[in-house]
Amino acid sequence: MAITKEIIEDKIEVVGSFKHINVRTATVVKEDGKEVSRSFHRHVVSPDNDASSESDEVKKLVGLHHTDELKKEYSDFKKAQADAGP
């Protein structure tokens, strides 16, 4: 009986006007090649996030969507939110 565990990014979506990248990381446990469990961990890569530690696939999407223009728009948006205060 061989039990294996693999960690994969099984779902990557680009959502919203600021192109947030939703990344779902799945931990898949298999017994003799048959999947017996799958659990999820999620994070979001927004235009102001450091993507240097992301996977190559996510980096490609960051390069495609998180342009300098979009980063500026997002930065201005967040500054306006912060200025508005609680």
Partner: protein, 205 residues
């Protein structure tokens, strides 16, 4: 009397004859519509759609997107203290979980800091599992269940989500004063400080 009928497919006879129940695969039941499988019941008895955009409509008699429940997911996420003006927070034990039902996300988390370096600006909690929807009314509050050892007394210490971001914000206010964002002077610098256990509910895209 016939006690058992063995067939691979049961399809409609009239019309285009392309919808019915497909029993041709071991240990599964497939529900075919217009010639393709739309739902499958597997060997464990769980029901799967053929597309993640499919769901179940409630309270309507025709397919309406706003009445269609098409997603459920649970998992974990990693919360992090982040200051808007920069600097570094080192964290002790922390963790978060989430449940997503349709577009509604419920998150729970705990977090603490063990040290800080060169902080400036206001405090946010980053790492939410889904971004907050960009819409009027998408700024939603959270509930703080427990907290201790912050850098200052903060009456009405609260958290809220910001539309179009994946972060929570912190603020406090006395009842007779306007709100203020939690900043560096309210954030303790020592080990095992700024402990919080909380939850929030928000809408995602």
């Amino acid at each position: 009397m016939v006690s058992e009928i063995r067939v691979d497919t049961v399809y409609n006879e009239s019309g285009d004859s392309d919808s019915g129940i497909n029993l041709g695969t071991n240990d599964s039941i497939k529900f075919d519509i217009a010639g393709s499988t739309k739902w499958t019941m597997n060997s464990s008895g769980n029901l799967f759609p053929s597309s993640t955009s499919q769901g179940i409509c409630f309270g309507v008699t025709s397919d309406t997107a706003s009445n269609r429940l098409s997603d459920y997911e649970e998992g974990t996420w990693t919360p992090a203290y982040t200051f808007s003006g920069g600097g570094t927070v080192t964290h002790g034990s922390r963790g978060g979980n989430y449940i997503k039902v349709g577009n509604l996300v419920q998150v729970g988390f705990n977090i603490r800091s063990t040290g800080v370096s060169s902080l400036s600006g206001s405090l946010t909690l980053t790492g939410l599992p889904f971004p907050v929807k960009n819409a009027t009314g998408a700024r939603m509050g959270g509930s703080v269940g427990y907290n201790r050892d912050w850098g200052a007394d903060m009456p009405n210490f609260r958290i809220y989500t910001s539309p179009n971001s994946s972060q929570l914000n912190f603020y406090y206010n006395a009842m007779n004063a306007t709100g203020a964002a939690v900043g560096t002077s309210q954030f303790a610098t020592g080990n095992d400080h700024n402990v919080i256990e909380a939850s929030a509910v928000y809408i995602t895209e």
